[in-house]
């Protein structure tokens, strides 16, 4: 019989939770879906080897819901991927997020794994990150007596490193409702279609007016050290007339930019043409649909 070999607390509300997180001399971790943490703890992963206390947040309903309030969509941190995939508000306003989470792991994993758990350790392959970046997601971080809001982009500091402090919890993901004319797509490449760690993820959102890109947002995951927006390419693209040459040019630019970030690797010869081709196809499909 496997034993996690640590203490477990199950706070019933935010107040109890924040008091537990505020205890400084305890090395604690938040337990939500557990699909990463339980495996990591059992396998003796470095990330959890010193964890003495698991704080299970599953009983806190406030952290487990999706709301549309004014012009913002609020996703509770412990909302599962299955709940996001099947939620009407998400389906209507955030189709890229729906597409991304529906490709994570297997149904059994999606029924347990949570949205904040996906990015809180800042693994480069977190599939929810590129869509959340193009939707300009912000996070609410709470700690005892404190609350702050930070953009996801600033939260994700470096591979496996975030701005989260030891006493803090990601409580909500806040996403401005996108303009009705914004369209886009998400692409994932893994070694198989399910239960696969992403090798490449791309998310594109844009608004096309008078055959030019009025607005465009581009993000990648897995192929860059952390999920990343490409502001230089976005700025270059704005207000350019759309034609095939522009789409080819943008795809080449994206490949060059990624190469600049990652340096030449053994996998570059395989991945770069795929990134460029898939980015071209994403853009082309969006333009044709429009």
């Amino acid at each position: 019989m496997i034993n996690l070999n640590c203490k477990i607390e199950t706070p019933k509300n935010i107040d109890e939770l924040l008091k537990l997180l505020a205890v400084e001399n305890f090395n604690s971790k938040i337990l939500a879906g557990g699909t990463d943490l339980i495996v990591g703890k059992i396998q003796g992963s470095k990330r959890f080897v010193d964890t003495e206390l698991l704080i299970d947040i599953n009983k806190i309903e406030e952290l487990h819901k999706i709301d549309l309030i004014d012009d913002k969509i609020i996703i509770g941190a412990s909302t599962t991927f299955s709940e996001i995939e099947n939620n009407k508000i998400i389906n209507e306003h955030l189709p890229l997020l729906k597409k991304a989470v529906s490709k994570i792991g297997s149904l059994q994993i999606r029924n347990r794994a949570t949205i904040a758990g996906n990015f809180v350790n800042n693994a480069p392959c977190a599939d929810s990150v590129p869509p959340l970046l193009v939707y300009n997601a912000e996070l609410e971080l709470i700690s005892f007596g404190n609350k702050r809001t930070i953009s996801l982009e600033n939260f994700l500091e470096a591979p496996y490193k975030t701005q989260l402090q030891k006493s803090e919890l990601v409580s909500k993901i806040i996403i401005p409702v996108p303009d009705k004319n914004i369209i886009g797509d998400f692409y994932k490449l893994g070694r198989r279609r399910a239960v696969a760690i992403s090798r490449i993820t791309l998310a594109v959102l844009c608004r096309i007016e008078n055959n030019s890109f009025d607005d465009i947002r581009i993000a990648s995951g897995a192929v860059t050290p952390i999920g990343k927006r490409f502001y230089e390419i976005e700025n270059f693209t704005r207000e350019k007339r759309i034609n095939n040459d522009l789409l080819i040019n943008l795809s080449q630019m994206l490949g060059e930019e990624i190469l600049k970030i990652t340096g030449l690797r053994w996998s570059s010869a395989y991945k770069l043409p795929v990134v460029q081709q898939m980015f071209y196809q994403l853009l082309n499909n969006i333009v044709i649909k429009k």
């Binding site: 019989m1 496997i2 034993n3 996690l4 070999n5 640590c6 477990i8 199950t10 879906g33 557990g34 699909t35 339980i38 495996v39 059992i42 396998q43 299970d56 599953n58 299955s82 792991g105 297997s106 149904l107 059994q108 994993i109 029924n111 347990r112 279609r193 399910a194 239960v195």
Partner: protein, 154 residues
């Protein structure tokens, strides 16, 4: 920690160590060894059980987390000694060879048919994508689920 939950339609109350997994509670404390442990990391699906209508990996859930839930395992789907149509059809269509993946595979199919009594082949594939079978090649498994769906609709 004392927990109370429904297991295969019967309410049980049991004292559990909060640091053990659901699969260990089922197999080692409750002797429900129909649920198998394969990879222990949520990739093979052999340990699939149903919690509140959803298929989950029992190697990735802690035992105390089923407090207040409704849990169904492979032992809970036959009635009065009669196999469930999914079990019958797995036998009939040759969807079983070594049988190790079968309980998990059937529980994933059972959860699918609870939510969607009329699944397409793609929906079946999606529902069992987290269940590995190294013997059958999946075709017979998909056939068994399709035939069962038709029978259950009556």
């Amino acid at each position: 920690m004392k927990i109370k939950f429904y297991l295969n339609k019967k309410e049980i109350e049991i004292e559990v160590d909060p640091t053990i997994r659901l699969i260990d509670l089922l197999r080692e404390k409750l002797n429900l060894t129909g649920t198998k442990e394969g990879c222990s990391i949520g990739e093979c699906g052999a340990c699939t059980v149903i919690v509140d209508g959803k298929a989950i990996n029992s190697c990735l859930m802690l035992a105390y987390q089923v407090d207040g839930c409704n849990v169904i395992t492979i032992e809970g789907i036959s009635e009065d000694g009669k196999l469930h149509p999914l079990q019958e059809n797995f036998l009939k269509t040759g969807a079983i060879q070594c049988g190790f993946c079968t309980p998990g595979m059937i529980m994933s199919a059972y959860a699918l048919l609870l939510e969607n009594p009329n699944p397409t082949e793609e929906e079946i594939k999606d529902a069992i994508a987290g269940n590995l079978c190294r013997c059958t090649g999946y075709k017979q498994i998909i056939d068994a689920i399709e035939v069962s769906a038709k029978e259950l609709k009556g």
